[in-house]
Point group: C2
Chain length 195, copies 2
């Protein structure tokens, strides 16, 4: 599936990898939008809001393109966890998630000014960790430096041994719910003349 | 974690990739055991039987090593699906799984003659496909030639867009339930003098 001028408005290497995995042709133009965690929205609306802001910002410079924005957060105990501020924050996030089930929510937004597209949705996946020792956590942080990841872990790296089960879309946890993304993209595609 | 002479008794490139992902040092010696699907066992016992047979076969030539064997099957509608015989079989497997939820069961066996280790377990993951068109299925088979995969799909390749959700361990579907594998390996490790 080739879409003329399909742009991923994200600098995440995981999202780039996922779009490559499903064989899409795309360019990358990260938005310079900074998430403001003080905004008072429930997690689902929070991710949708920022996914759409990211897509909209890039769309203003590329009105004829189809832009996809995405925003992923971890939710535990009613609190939204974004990327950790530093290693100490990383440790405390992983310690709180240890032995429990949390939610990962990704908001996804398709935006195109010229094609009149403005579609946003979110998807939720439950992730269960086994109990981690302090040594496990410190070793993981030292080896993988997970400061660029919501919740401070990568489901696809060495952390995978601590993830006992998930319920929902695996790729959603990596930053993009591939199946829902693809299903919607196929519906949108005729509007942007997919070749 | 380094285990002296830890051997993966499987030629599966996915299992090799998973053990690398968690940083294990290991050698690969595929067993030459051929699964006999006519053997009358429930799916869980079937995978455990063949995982253990594979490990045992390699262990007989390497009595001082710790061997891991694994066997993965797809179960749908009470029937065990192994690897497809040919492209036609591949098509009919994917057509039957389309729009439904099936089970993936992996049996895992740790075996060491000198260290007196003989531990086998199985893990189950539920996988839900969206509805696939005949064109989707034919395109997938043409591009990915999934003849070496139980159930005729790879959860980690271009098929990922058709997998709506899973319930259980993702890596189990790739051929090795990493979290359960690692938890048991840590219990076994002292017996084989892990350094």
């Amino acid at each position: 599936m080739t879409i003329p001028s399909f742009i991923l408005a994200s600098g995440s290497p995981r999202r780039k990898q996922l779009l490559k995995q499903i064989g899409l042709d795309f360019s990358i133009i990260p938005s310079n939008v900074d998430e403001d965690f003080s905004i008072d929205l429930p997690p689902e609306a929070f991710t949708e809001h920022w996914a759409r802001e990211k897509a909209k910002t890039v769309a203003s410079d590329h009105p004829d393109s189809l832009i996809v924005g995405a925003d992923t957060v971890v939710v535990f105990d009613g609190k939204i966890l974004g990327k950790p501020k530093d290693k100490k924050d990383s440790f405390s996030m992983l310690q709180s998630l240890s032995g429990h089930t949390h939610e990962v929510i990704t908001g996804v937004s398709f935006f195109s000014l010229d094609h009149n597209i403005d579609i946003t949705f979110n998807e939720r996946t439950f992730v269960s960790f086994i109990a981690l020792s302090d040594i496990d956590i410190n070793n993981y942080i030292k080896t993988y430096n997970p400061l660029d990841k919501a919740g401070s872990y990568g489901i696809q790296d060495g952390f995978s041994v601590y993830i006992h089960r998930i319920n929902g879309c695996y790729y959603n946890v990596m930053g993009l719910p591939l199946s829902s993304f693809y299903t919607r993209l196929k519906l949108i595609a005729p509007l942007v003349q997919i070749s």
